[in-house]
Symmetry: C2
Subunit: 195 residues, 2 copies
Amino acid sequence: MSTEPLTAERILEATEEVLRRYGPAKATVVDVARVLGVSHGSVYRHFRTKAALREAVTKRWLSPTEAALARVISDSGREPGAAKLRAWLLTLFDAKRLKAGDDPELFATFCALSQESSDVVDAHLTELTRQLTRIIEEGVREGEFAAPDPREAAGAVFAATARFHDPAYAPEWRKSTIDAEFDAVAALLLRGLRA
Amino acid sequence: MSTEPLTAERILEATEEVLRRYGPAKATVVDVARVLGVSHGSVYRHFRTKAALREAVTKRWLSPTEAALARVISDSGREPGAAKLRAWLLTLFDAKRLKAGDDPELFATFCALSQESSDVVDAHLTELTRQLTRIIEEGVREGEFAAPDPREAAGAVFAATARFHDPAYAPEWRKSTIDAEFDAVAALLLRGLRA
């Protein structure tokens, strides 16, 4: 038995560990409780259902990427417009491929979890599109971009760069040509946004 | 027993029928021979291995799309540049979503087959990129597009429109917003190519 207080954060860490060990199909709340040395009832006091626990761990897995991208936006040393948009797209690509390359099994686990936590994934995609919209709006204000509908343009940029953030393309991210492909797509899109 | 001569084309038709009926995991050459009322040796005289037969049927499935796209290029009534590029991208999207929507099971079957026939799929993707390169080169000659490296630009356009041709996105193609998404991405890319 652990003497540390049982926090939501400790439960989420243990859940990630259990998912890594048993995979998403076999991992149970009882496994999580065992890792923590507590009863499964104690886990359920923090997360009312297994689905809620899995959603929370998916959200926790996605949130560092959102935070890293938000820092690109708030970085006052970065020029608005094309430089910021390109940095944001590259930060997203780097975050995704780092996760995919670092621990491919855990990455596959979270891809599977994402399929069942569609609300969490929708919220993540909404946040990313909101950030992209802000960058484009800022570029329009600075006179660098022309976009009659910045939100629509953000959606188009996000869709057009799917190859560099959609987990379905993870196997492609190891190709030696992928950086050149990213550069070509980013250059074309930035040219398309230019005022 | 059929009295028609056993042609490669008849074998391919029967193979498609067998794949549709049993799925790619279970379909065998013996099943194909049975549908045709011939021995499996007769099938092997046309296709030396099961893999060769499956590759040929995959190629046959992809080739009408290549032909439809080639017609967009050779259509002398169509203006070169943006109009032709947009028509080509839309023809590709329409061909893919028609196949996906018409017969989703057969579509899934061919997606599975494509995974094992990577040479056939690579040849298909090479042909599509070759066609796109031609359209961009023509647009550059006409002074409508600016692209220092038309082949690289073709690769970027193809990658940026994956959402509208990669079978991995087939579930998205039924969304009511998908045509607006296509329009936004196509407009952004055409703007990016404009001289």
